[in-house]
């Protein structure tokens, strides 16, 4: 075991898989010699050479399209899109191609690619460095979507994603690359080294896709969250004294609905938290499924705490970010009766 932050854990996951499988290639803008603008691919080009870790032209359509082609050859590309906000030129290749290749060729061609991309706000990145577009991808048949919330999971999930036979969107919450963030922007940031989940094995292990984690057991209310919001939720629960069960989804699709259902049937209340915009967001899907499966158990309306339905503002970031104030109020409402 060694202590890693999220960046180091993600780097280690690529290192471990590249070591085991020479079909794994890493590609993207600035990922090669420089090692990525967030340093996630640091050292990989030096270790595995320029034909397995390479910089690309600034063309997200090309990055993903080329990855689909390399996957069709039989390799396992791990393309990086530098910010999730820049993924849109690649949508045709992801939605029309990667997601459907297995289906339309009846398994003749497959697409085991893992698109890594930093996402989410909390870094004063403005509207082009802060978005949470996961709901676009969970809406597409044929794509898996994974979002880790800590170094241990990040490494295990990324290895599982790279080894997965189908295309995976792996969104990395950039706000917590260097330390967990509970939403209290006016307090000092804690490094990962003070957090148990920064204990990460140096070698190979996986955290299976499609399995949620109950990160805090409780009886009073179920909080469904992922990424940065896991830490916001844990902070609010600790401060409020409410005996909430906090579930880190880890994989949005395929969704671990059994864990969710068992929890909501136990608590009878459910709050859903994500940073993405509200309307048509992944929280809407969660809310629908909980209602469909747990209706007789529900003692209060399901609450959604999300980003507002506006572009992500720059200077008013902390009024936009669904932080402790908003989650705290939602918990009060859901616990009222």
């Amino acid at each position: 075991m060694t202590t890693m932050n999220m960046i180091q854990a993600i780097n280690s996951a690529m290192d471990v898989t590249m070591e085991r499988d020479n079909g794994v290639v890493v590609m993207g803008e600035d990922v090669g010699y420089f090692g990525g603008v967030f340093r996630a691919t640091a050292g990989l080009q030096k270790k595995y050479g320029k034909t397995r870790v390479f910089d690309t032209p600034i063309n997200e359509c090309g990055i993903i399209g080329v990855a689909v082609g390399m996957a069709a050859y039989g390799m396992r590309p791990v393309p990086e899109i530098q910010f999730a906000d820049y993924i849109y030129p690649g949508l045709d290749q992801l939605i029309s191609e990667a997601a459907r290749l297995r289906y339309r060729s009846a398994g003749e061609f497959t697409c085991p690619i893992t698109v890594r991309s930093p996402f989410g706000g909390g870094i004063f990145g403005g509207q082009t460095h802060s978005q949470s577009p996961e709901g676009i991808f969970t809406h597409v048949a044929g794509l898996k979507t994974v979002i880790p919330s800590n170094p241990y999971d990040a490494k295990g999930l990324l290895i599982a994603a790279i080894e997965d036979p189908d295309p995976v969107l792996f969104f990395e919450p950039k706000r917590i690359y260097n330390g967990p963030f509970d939403g209290h922007y006016d307090r000092p940031v804690q490094p990962w080294s003070k957090h148990a989940s920064s204990e990460v094995p140096e070698g190979y292990y996986t955290v299976p896709l499609g399995k949620a984690a109950v990160v805090r057991a409780g009886e009073a209310v179920t909080i469904l969250c992922y990424g940065t919001m896991v830490h916001v939720a844990l902070g609010v629960v600790e401060a409020s004294g409410i005996d909430a069960e906090v579930i880190d989804l880890r994989t949005l699709l395929p969704l671990d609905i059994d864990t969710i259902q068992a929890s909501v049937e136990k608590t009878g209340r459910c709050v859903i938290v994500h940073e993405a915009t509200r309307t048509g967001g992944f929280g809407a899907e969660l809310s629908a499924q909980v209602q469909e499966r747990c209706f007789p158990y529900l003692e209060a309306p399901i609450e959604r705490v999300t980003g507002w339905d506006t572009p992500y503002p720059h200077s008013l970031e902390w009024a936009y970010f669904p932080g402790p104030v908003r989650l705290g109020e939602a918990l009060k409402r859901v616990m009222k009766d």
Binding site: E29, I58, A319
Partner: protein, 423 residues
């Protein structure tokens, strides 16, 4: 070795570009050979693109090594306009230095300098009409300065403060100034390129007389939007100038990752039948002349022009970047096209219109101008995570012309929750 079918084939290899110099390397640009100033012919503005096929592989230069303006591209400007460009470039650099320091002092989140590339925007602003429409990337702050837009207004945007007309919504330097013919800057790369073509097409549809111009970095020419812009500009002979600012580096990726090992960026125009020029981007007179030529071409319905400005990004990509991790610090010093401000200064000195004393006096005046603007802007606040410069309700404004019910509800919810929580 023979394969299963008995064929004796060589294994394929993948070419991955590699820049000549990395951190610590001694840098020599001796292999960069440019035509002498004044040596490139200046075709008539209505020339058919098929007769212009050498220009993308050449380099239009007006200022010779001594600072003399030579050859057919010399725009023969009145000296006052040359001085206006020098002033604009110096003001741009002075402004950049101040705002960079402001970011380092924690007064804002982000900044991007254009050091070494000042001529590209300033000379274009000088050559275009004031009402021609600009679709810039994030490194053409010189267009606003060249059009004499108030520095205080620009600084307020950088500070996201109470004076920021964009209500603190945009990342610093992503200006929007309709009154200066300056389109709202996007952080997404090259998206402005087809938009400029569309604006130019609209101007033609309406029988207007204004033209459009856009700028992208050489790295961004890799985006599909670049192709979209070129094909529409070519098909409709749109009155547009498509500028490529080849500053050699896209964050850590050298121009080879945008295709520079294979051909020039100007040569991209050939495949579309678009007239294309390649210009010494550190020579303000050459940039002026090329822009003037392209503008005249557009204004007379002769179609679009692609211009590659060959220059160098002297500083980091942004305040979030550290170029010492990926390129040799010697590159900027040894770049063979020199510094655009220094070169125009030498030109004016050679004309007998300038000297070190007048240069120092102008620098002192500009430094004071920027300092005064900075003081005024900071009175309206700086960016801070805890002191909000705009009302929370502004988050919900301007998503649509008319606020739909769900946004009104969310706005009320925000206010209610903050009241309930006592914050």
């Amino acid at each position: 070795m023979a394969d299963e079918a008995g064929r004796n084939l060589r294994p394929l290899t993948l070419h991955v570009p590699e820049p000549k110099f990395r951190p610590g390397d001694a840098v020599s640009f001796d292999d960069m050979v440019f035509p002498e100033a004044g040596s490139v012919a200046r075709p008539p503005v209505d020339a058919d693109p098929s007769t212009l096929r050498d220009l993308p592989f050449s380099l239009i230069r007006v200022l010779d090594p001594e600072g003399k303006a030579v050859g057919p591209w010399d725009p023969r400007l009145p000296v006052e306009r040359v001085k206006h460009m020098l002033r604009g470039m110096m003001l741009t650099r002075t402004y950049d230095d101040r705002m960079f320091r402001a970011q380092r002092q924690g007064k804002t989140s982000f900044y991007m300098k254009c050091t070494g590339e000042e001529a590209v925007a300033i000379a274009a602003a000088e050559a275009l009409h004031r009402d021609d429409m600009c679709f810039p990337s994030y490194r053409q702050q010189g267009l606003l300065i060249g059009r004499e837009w108030p520095l205080v207004d620009m600084m307020c945007q950088v500070y996201s403060n109470a004076g920021d007309r964009l209500k603190g919504r945009q990342l610093p330097i992503m200006y929007s100034v309709k009154d200066a013919g300056f389109f709202s800057i996007s952080g997404n790369l090259a998206t402005q390129y087809p938009q400029a073509v569309g604006w130019a097409m609209a101007s033609a549809v309406k029988g207007d007389t204004r033209i459009a111009a856009s700028w992208v970095g050489e790295g961004s020419t890799a985006e599909g939007d670049f192709h979209s812009a070129c094909i529409f500009a070519s098909v409709y002979r749109a009155p547009v100038i498509l500028n490529i600012v080849n500053n050699q580096w896209a964050i850590s990726s050298f121009a080879g990752f945008a295709g520079a090992e294979a051909t020039t960026f100007a040569a991209r125009g050939l495949g579309y039948g678009i007239a294309a020029l390649r210009v010494d981007g550190n020579d303000a007179l050459a940039v002026y002349a090329a822009t003037e030529w392209a503008a005249e071409r557009a204004r007379t319905n002769c179609g679009p022009t692609l211009i590659e400005h060959f220059t160098y990004r002297v500083e980091a990509h942004s305040t979030s970047d550290d170029p010492s991790a990926y390129r040799s610090a010697e590159e900027a010093k040894n770049f063979p096209l020199g510094d655009p401000i220094e070169r125009l200064k030498q030109h004016l000195i050679r004309l007998g219109e300038w000297d070190e004393a007048s240069h120092d006096a102008l620098q002192a005046e500009l430094t004071e101008q920027v300092r005064a603007a900075g003081r005024e802007a900071e009175k309206l606040g700086v960016l801070s995570g805890t002191a909000f410069n705009h009302g929370f309700e502004t988050i919900f404004e301007d998503v649509f012309a008319e606020m739909p019910q769900h946004l009104k509800e969310q706005s009320e919810q925000m206010a209610e929750e903050r009241r309930a929580a006592g914050v």
